[in-house]
């Protein structure tokens, strides 16, 4: 059996217990290896009254596991020239190890220790509680995070995973114990819905064989269900949050959007790139920053996740200019909603998106990020190879139809947060 050498072509396998294994060849010339374990362990699974549990569990994973306390674990990583990071999102949490290719077997073993046998030491929990408390304060007092927070609260109903940043409250974080963490870990990391993605210079069979030994303790179970209360549409609204003493006002306009599996996603992706996603080529950058000279940053984001998504336009500007900038942002959203994107503009943005694929393969870490994304969204193994042709089928009409569903201005919420002038 031949093994692919193209990092754009993934190979899928599975262990007997159902753990999905995804192998990606490393980019040419790369000397590093990366592997990520993704579990259905995002903060959308936090129990009511224990909000913050998922984030705390995620923070604590690299703080000691199996035979290693946090210092021994850090020294092990230093000796290997490796790094270990954990991230938590609304739907899932992931742990990534990166290091020299030749050590991939022992690094994968270490990843398994961290994922399967975290220590959740009581003193580490206390430390993370203190750090969470400061982050909670930061979330409400910094204009950028405050604007995001208000946008999500206005868009998603109570209990929805995308409504919060998973930080919990002082009270809910105070309720989290090591026992809470162990239960959460058992339910959400040792789960049949988990995935292991490895960017490694080895055959899929070798990865399966090594992983089979390391991850055999995961029980054959189905994954937990992510609660997704229905999102109701509402009329456009505006929220002003006056944060005195800051220098800049942050603006967000956005709302509910589509999931990654939505058939309109490629068109919605390109619509976002045209509006504000494709850096210097986008309308927001060109018109609000370059022509208007009004802001340093103006961009848009389409976060299409596995079970749903959101879109958001963002900019930061001075207190005397934000109403003018707000008007321009609304104008650009209306433009893309109501008028067809010229074919030339669509072609340019599309070819730019396609052309950047080689840049995403510069290093193992960058290529690995692509693989993790494809694997998490359960896209086919040759998805990255087909992505270009999917984008090339999108017409201006498709794009407009996608905007109506994925970036619907009629249900948008506008938030301005910062040192506001009296209106």
């Amino acid at each position: 059996m031949t093994s692919s050498t193209d990092p754009l072509r993934l190979e899928y396998g599975a262990l007997a217990n159902g753990l999905s294994i995804v192998r990606q060849p490393p980019p040419p010339g790369a000397a590093s290896f990366s592997a990520t374990y993704i579990g259905p362990a995002g903060w959308g699974f936090d129990r009511r009254g224990e909000e913050g549990t998922a984030r705390i569990a995620s923070y604590l994973l690299p703080s000691g596991a199996g035979p290693y306390d946090r210092i021994e674990l850090a020294r092990y990583l230093d000796r290997a020239g490796a790094t270990l990071t954990s991230e938590c999102a609304p739907e899932s949490a992931e742990v990534t190890i990166w290091g020299p290719s030749e050590d991939w077997r022992r690094l994968l073993r270490l990843l398994a220790e961290v994922v399967l046998r975290p220590r959740f030491a009581a003193d580490d929990l206390e430390r993370v509680r203190r750090q969470m408390a400061e982050r909670q304060l930061r979330e409400v007092s910094q204009p950028a995070s405050r604007a995001d927070r208000e946008l999500f609260r206005a868009t998603f109903p109570s209990g929805h995973p995308y409504r919060t940043a998973g930080l919990g409250t002082a009270r809910s974080v105070g309720r989290v114990t090591t026992e809470t963490l162990r239960n959460f870990h058992h339910r959400h990391y040792l789960s049949g819905e988990a995935l292991l993605v490895a960017t490694v210079p080895a055959h899929l069979r070798s990865v399966e064989s090594v992983a089979g030994h390391l991850f055999s303790s995961i029980p054959e179970t189905g994954g937990p269900d992510l609660p997704m209360p229905p999102v109701r549409s509402h009329r456009p609204r505006r929220l002003d949050v006056n944060l005195r003493g800051r220098s800049q006002v942050e603006i967000r306009i956005g709302g509910n959007s589509v999931a990654r599996s939505d058939p309109d996603y490629p068109a919605a992706f390109l619509a976002n790139e045209v509006l504000g996603g494709r850096a210097q080529l986008s309308r927001l950058f060109q018109r609000v920053r370059e022509r208007g000279g009004l802001v340093y940053h103006a961009s848009s984001e389409l976060e299409a996740m596995r079970f749903g998504g959101y879109w958001s336009v963002g900019a930061g500007t001075g207190p005397e200019r934000y109403e003018k900038v707000l008007g321009m942002l609304h104008h650009e959203i209306q433009e893309i909603s109501r008028r067809p994107v010229p074919a030339t503009e669509l072609r340019e943005v599309r070819e730019s998106s396609i052309g950047e694929i080689p840049l995403a393969l510069e290093t193992t870490a960058e290529a690995h990020e692509l693989a993790v994304e494809v694997a998490y969204h359960r896209q086919p193994p040759d998805f990255l190879l087909r992505w270009s042709s999917l984008l090339r089928t999108v017409t201006p009409d498709d794009l407009r139809a996608a905007v109506a569903r994925a970036m619907d201005e009629r249900n948008a919420t506008t938030v301005v947060a910062g040192p506001l002038m009296a209106r």
Binding site: P27, P28, G29, A30, A31, S32, R70, I71, A74, R75, D78, G81, T83, G99, P100, E126, R130, Q131, A133, E134, L137, R138, V140, S141, Q142, A144, R146, N242, L243, R244, G245, R246, S247, Q248, A279, Q280, L281, Q286, R289, E290, G293, L294, V295, Y296, G316, T317, G318, R321, E348, S352, S353, G355, E356, I357, P358, L359, E362, T363, A417, G418
Partner: protein, 439 residues
């Protein structure tokens, strides 16, 4: 030499007759190529009235020339899927473009153009003024930025390191297009630049193309030494800032030696012992954020003990003496006196006893192993080669590694005693006022 296992590509270096230094670092299998142009100009070359000029000129180099109208450069790069950006520091300004390898000619074409022919028109300067204001305002939203700006302002009274790279608000309001053009004419040009090409390209034809595009440029660009010498610190300096925030925050700074100083390796080790990781041996295009390292002294004495939620040290060695800093964000309920005393005790312990043998062994391992993969990818390679070559010389990296691995515990203790002295420190405290204060 760099530690065993570091896969730095072979670098071919030559200098054109107009003074442009060129470094070619091919890695034939790479699908991309990264072109970097480094100018030895930064906020060190400014003076009151034109603070922020280097950063502003960096913006203006994207605003067009007679040959490439405004936006054409970025557009041409993005249309082939490339990435283009630039950044300004105290000692340098760097421009980089990474593109699929078949498009190498594209950045060479516009970099040779904007090296001497940027337009810098009145109209574009006027428009960019608000953009730069906005960039500064975005930074001012963060107490950390305000504290660091105050720290350098307090520590330096003569040297240009006393102002922030973004420039002072008043200067951003007043600076004219004439002043920016004059600044550009003086400091930009082949004589004051280093061109680095890294990634997938064939060096022979590329050298030919570089000579064809850059050799005819006029030999402009002054590499001007800073004449102002900051007098030695004459006692502790302090300031308190107040404003919205979360918990009390503190930065302490001490005067540090320049990059090429004999004691620099020992101070880099000291930074690693205190903070966890030194910036010089971190991989990546832009300095990575410092990860929490549980063996670091500040982490153990402040974060683990519940006094701080974050605590680290930070030192980017510069061409001239700069500041070695320690930053700490208090845990809820911990006041600034307690936090500062804990920082002082931690530093004092190193002054008195130096690092342990175990710490030295840990740091050496971290340096050796951490360097191994730092040259992966064309963009990172272009950055590292350009960084060392611009600030000093390409061999500086080799020499630094060599000396870092031979630093003794006594040398680290001596460096702490020489530089981190209580009577030479600068302290800026940030006291948050009230709660989030929203209406």
């Amino acid at each position: 030499m760099v530690p065993d296992g570091v896969r730095r590509p072979r670098v071919r270096s030559f200098v054109l007759s107009n003074g442009l230094r060129v470094l070619l670092a091919p890695t034939l299998e790479s699908p991309t190529v990264s072109v970097w142009v480094w100018y030895r100009v930064g906020s060190k070359n400014e003076h009151p009235g034109i603070t922020g000029a280097s950063h502003w000129v960096e913006h203006m180099l994207f605003e067009g020339s007679p040959r490439f109208p405004k936006g054409a450069v970025e557009r041409s790069v993005l249309l082939v899927g490339g990435e283009i950006n630039a950044f300004t520091d105290t000692d340098f300004t760097a421009y980089f473009t990474t593109v699929p390898r078949e498009h190498l000619s594209l950045p060479l074409r516009f970099e040779s153009d904007r090296m001497t022919r940027a337009a810098i028109t009145e109209e574009e300067v006027a428009r960019e003024r608000t953009v730069i204001h906005s960039e500064r305002e975005g930074n001012e939203n963060w107490p950390e930025f305000r504290v660091e700006e105050e720290l350098f302002q307090l520590a330096f009274r003569v040297h240009p390191y006393r102002w922030e790279v973004l420039g002072r608000r008043g200067d951003i309001e007043q600076m004219t297009a004439d002043q920016l053009r004059e600044y550009y004419r003086r400091f930009y040009g082949p004589r004051n630049a280093v061109l680095v090409i890294a990634g997938g390209f064939d060096p022979r034809p590329t050298e030919g193309e570089v000579r064809r595009r850059f050799s005819r440029l006029p030999a402009w660009g002054d590499d001007v030494a800073v004449r102002e010498v900051e007098p030695p610190p004459s006692g502790e300096r302090r300031a308190v800032l107040r404003g919205p925030g979360t918990t009390p925050y503190l930065q302490v700074g001490w005067r540090s030696p320049p990059l090429a100083n004999e004691q620099t390796p020992a101070l880099l080790v000291l930074d690693t012992v205190l903070g966890g990781e030194s910036r010089v041996f971190s991989a990546g295009v832009v300095w990575r954020g410092r990860r929490e390292h549980p063996t670091a002294r500040l982490y153990r004495s402040l974060v683990e003990k519940g006094l701080a939620v974050r605590a680290t040290s930070g030192w980017s060695p510069r061409v001239y003496p700069s500041l070695f800093t320690v930053q700490a964000q208090a845990a809820a309920g911990v006041d600034l006196n307690r936090l500062e005393n804990a920082v002082e005790r931690t530093v004092d312990e190193l002054r008195r006893r130096g690092p342990t043998a175990r710490e030295m062994s840990d740091v050496r391992t971290r340096i050796r192993r951490g360097a191994a993969l730092s040259y992966e990818g064309a963009t990172s390679t272009g950055f590292r080669i350009g960084y060392f070559s611009t600030l000093h010389s390409l061999d500086l990296e080799d020499r630094l590694y060599d000396r870092l691995l031979r630093v003794t515990p006594r040398a680290v203790r001596d460096a702490a005693r020489t530089f981190l002295t209580p009577d030479a420190r600068v302290v800026v405290r940030y006291e948050p006022t009230g709660g989030p204060s929203d209406d």
